[in-house]
């Protein structure tokens, strides 16, 4: 790529710079290049090209040296990332190893990262529910954080916009707290999931079990075929990268789309050290990049800069972008940058059996994973001794019971048994947490990484609200399972560190008041009008719905706004 070895300012100048090539950065790149803007996409990790760079995607289980398990040496060297469910022999190459990129845990935090083109969009669980005004009005109603500067009506058309392109499967369920979208056909609930849905519907007010909505092409539309993607093949080994483009990843979707336009330059191995602020112009002029291979520092310039480095790295870049005007980090007049970080509480599960529907099973595999129970606690009014609530996954499964007892030909027979056991049902909690000033990230003033960037320090923890909510989840789901006639109910809670949910959010929150927030209602830095943050860092509160779809919608909306402001000469 000789054209990158350039030294003239002109050749290092673009219309737009997008920092990060993952879930939200890919969208910014697509939106800008669709409109003909010359766009530089910066990615700190290596390139991962769709299909070509998915080395394990077509491997059979017996082709893995350790049949999926990672060697003990790898596990012991990576206690943090090894706690992530998807960190196995088939996908370990898409995860950051602990020693490669250190950070400081003033409090335990499992920071799960994917440093490559596409970022964590290769690895996500692909659950996509819209947020509603029950989420956007939450902080104002319940008196925490600050009021969201937007409401559902502001973001709804952008949800539609990104859903049509990404491809979201789901049913129009007509539930106010989980607005319907532009859906491809849903993956259906199975017999026992339907049984529980019906049971919940007839026994509980405002509680629903629906098909999980997910970013899979159940039946593709023309726009998806135009992207080079085809129907999801129900493989459910998505974390390896999908050669069919069956699920939404930046690698299969937004990044190749942006590159195809001819207006994008993708520069991997480029860690952004800081954003350059020009005191005279009163705006950002570009970014300072360290080439991770050569350690050479290079500056790139643009009219507008989108920061999509993933929530906590976006905080890091802003905190490290210090100038005379902004001694505490870019746009940080309020002092709240890095603070009010929150996450999702995934620390409770429940399992049981169902002694019925014996004449039914399933065939093939369900990429949606089963059912989804939208938040039912404190939706219309405050009704518990904790704030907010939780969504729940729900799935039912049946498989042969293959006893490992005995030895010899009887054991061989046992292992070949195809006779199915009873149905098993399971649920996991996805709880909203409350952003607080005391949950924050900051820069270490001494320790730096291999590229001279200060290490990030984590001070993020659960609180009493989370404990009460967890207890309520166990009680409510146990009661719902019991009344549905499920047996052998076993709830379990764990003490996982924050971060393992991989839904860290906030630190550069949106708000109406520049005194208490970093971004305005357009995801635009209050005091630096040509810098936008549209990844998880921008979130004022966390809802309990999975956040990625909302990042995508915010990004497309902010890019549209930025371009209209550029046209008007405002930025």
């Amino acid at each position: 790529m000789a054209n990158l070895n350039i030294d003239s300012v002109k050749e290092r100048t673009f219309d737009a710079i997008v920092i990060g090539s993952g879930m939200s950065g890919g969208w910014a790149a697509k939106e800008f290049t669709d409109k003909g803007l010359k766009t530089l996409i910066l990615e700190r990790g290596r390139d991962v090209k769709h299909i070509k760079d998915y080395p394990t995607t077509n491997m059979y289980p017996w082709e893995f040296e350790h049949r999926g398990e990672l060697p003990m040496a790898v596990q012991e060297a990576n206690p943090i990332v090894n706690r992530c469910y998807a960190f196995g022999e088939s996908a370990a190459h898409f995860f950051v190893k602990d020693a490669e990129h250190p950070y400081i845990q003033d409090k335990p935090f499992d920071w799960i990262r994917g440093y490559q083109v596409g970022g964590k969009s290769l690895l996500w669980a692909r659950q996509t529910q819209r947020w509603s005004d029950f989420d956007f009005e939450g902080p104002a109603r319940d008196g925490f954080a600050v009021d969201w500067p937007i409401r559902y009506k502001d973001i709804a058309p952008w949800y539609s916009y990104v859903e049509k392109f990404a491809g979201i499967s789901g049913n129009r369920d007509g539930i106010a707290e989980l607005p319907d979208g532009e859906f491809l056909p849903a993956f259906p609930l199975n017999t026992v999931e339907e049984y529980f849905r019906d049971h919940v519907k007839s026994n509980y007010k405002n509680r629903y079990v629906i098909s999980a909505r997910c970013a899979h092409l159940s039946t593709p539309n023309q726009i998806h075929l135009d992207q080079g993607r085809v129907q999801c093949q129900r493989r459910t080994i998505c974390e390896r990268g999908c050669p069919f483009g069956g699920y939404f990843s930046a690698n299969a979707t937004t990044i190749p789309w942006a590159l195809k336009s001819g207006h994008a330059t993708l520069r991997p191995f480029s860690v952004v050290e800081s954003i350059i602020y020009d005191e005279k112009l009163g705006k950002a002029t570009g970014v300072r990049v360290i080439d991770t291979n050569t350690k050479e520092a290079i500056e790139y310039y643009a009219k507008v800069i989108f920061v999509n480095a993933a929530a906590l790295n976006t905080n890091l870049i802003l905190l490290n972008s210090k100038s005379h005007r902004f001694p505490n980090g870019l746009g940080n007049d309020s002092g709240v940058l890095g603070k009010y970080v929150a996450f999702h509480n995934y620390s409770a599960h429940i399992g049981a059996e169902y002694d019925g529907a014996k004449e039914w099973t399933t065939d093939g595999r369900n990429p949606a994973g089963g059912g989804y129970i939208p938040r039912f606690r404190n939706v219309y009014k405050q009704e518990t001794d904790f704030l907010r609530g939780y969504a729940s996954g729900f799935g039912a499964y049946r498989y042969p019971q293959r006893s490992w007892d005995g030895v010899g030909s009887s054991l061989k027979d046992n292992l070949a048994n195809k006779e199915l056991g009873p149905w098993h049902v399971g649920s996991h909690m996805m709880g909203e947490t409350i952003p607080k000033e005391s949950n924050f990230v900051s820069l270490d003033d001494k320790q730096k990484d291999a590229w001279g960037v200060p290490l990030l320090k984590m001070n993020i923890d659960y609180d009493d609200n989370d404990e009460k909510m967890k207890k309520d989840y166990v009680e409510q789901l146990t009661e719902m399972f019991t009344s549905a006639g499920f047996t052998n109910i076993k709830a379990s809670t764990d003490r996982r560190a924050p971060g393992l949910d991989i839904h860290e959010m906030g630190g550069a929150r949106m708000g109406n008041d520049p005194k208490t927030s970093i971004l305005n209602k357009w995801n635009q830095v209050h005091s630096v009008k040509n810098v936008f943050v549209t990844d998880g860092a921008s979130m004022t509160s966390t809802s309990c719905q999975n956040p990625s779809l909302t990042y995508m919608a915010f990004t497309a909306r902010a890019a549209d706004y930025a371009m209209s402001e550029m046209k008007k000469g405002n930025i």
Binding site: P55, T56, N58, M59, Y60, P61, W62, E63, F64, E65, H66, R67, G68, E69, L70, P71, M72, A73, V74, E76, E89, A92, H93, K97, F187, P188, L189, N190, T191, E193, Q233, R234, R235, K358, E359, W360, T361, T362, D363, G364, R365, N366, P367, P400, R402, W404, D405, G406, V407, G408, S409, L411, K412, L415, A416, K418, E419, L420
Partner: protein, 203 residues
């Protein structure tokens, strides 16, 4: 075959190793693995005989046909903690000794029935201990139960449980098993949420 050749052959039968991602594409892996545990060819033969007793050749392939004993070694070398590897090696010696003590023969000299009885007896003792531990665990203030002096040392039981677990793991994840017994589909292309099923009547 010496052990080096064996491991090399193992690398060959693990098709697709060349397709592994960069992080695990370590061509020196087998050599590293050789350093982790140190067993003689005789003891390797013993693992083969135990694996073959667990998954014997019948009308369908057995452990040795599928090289499962080599898979056990591979997993032991790469995927177990040092203390487990040490217990395994010690336990393997105890196992050989116990065969002499109980049956006055080496394990390979025993007939199939006796081999099976030997292994089942080890399993039985292990299960009884687990049940006892569970029971004392249920009683919170009970003094920790002293394990009854059984016939088999903890290391022997560790050795056996690793061989059994990894023999079954290797078997149920083998190409043979996944293409003939319980067929694995890489590309199902379908999800049928309502699929009729007829439960066999209990005899």
């Amino acid at each position: 075959m010496d052990r080096r050749t064996v491991i090399k052959n193992l690398a060959l039968i693990i098709g697709g190793a060349a397709l592994l991602p960069a992080c695990s594409q370590d061509k020196t892996k087998s050599k590293v693995a050789l350093k982790n545990i140190d067993i003689t060819a005789n003891l390797e033969q013993l693992i083969g005989d135990v694996s073959e007793t667990i998954i014997p050749k019948t009308t369908t392939p057995g452990a040795k046909d599928l090289l499962l004993h080599l898979f056990v070694l591979k997993m032991l070398d790469d995927c177990y903690k040092k203390e487990d590897q040490q217990a395994f090696v010690t336990g393997m010696e105890h196992f050989a000794d116990q065969s002499q003590k109980l049956y006055s023969k080496t394990f390979d000299q025993l007939d199939t029935k006796t081999r099976e009885a030997f292994l089942l007896d080890i399993e039985k003792e292990g299960k009884a201990e687990e049940a006892a531990a569970q029971k004392s665990g249920d009683k919170k203030d009970a003094a920790p139960a002293t394990p009854p002096a059984g016939k088999y040392s903890p290391e022997l039981k560790k050795f056996y449980s690793i061989v059994k677990r990894q023999t079954i793991n290797g078997y149920t994840n083998s190409k043979y098993f996944m293409t003939n017994i319980v067929v694995y589909e890489l590309v199902p292309g379908r999800y049928n949420a309502h699929f009729p099923y007829k439960q066999k009547q209990a005899v």
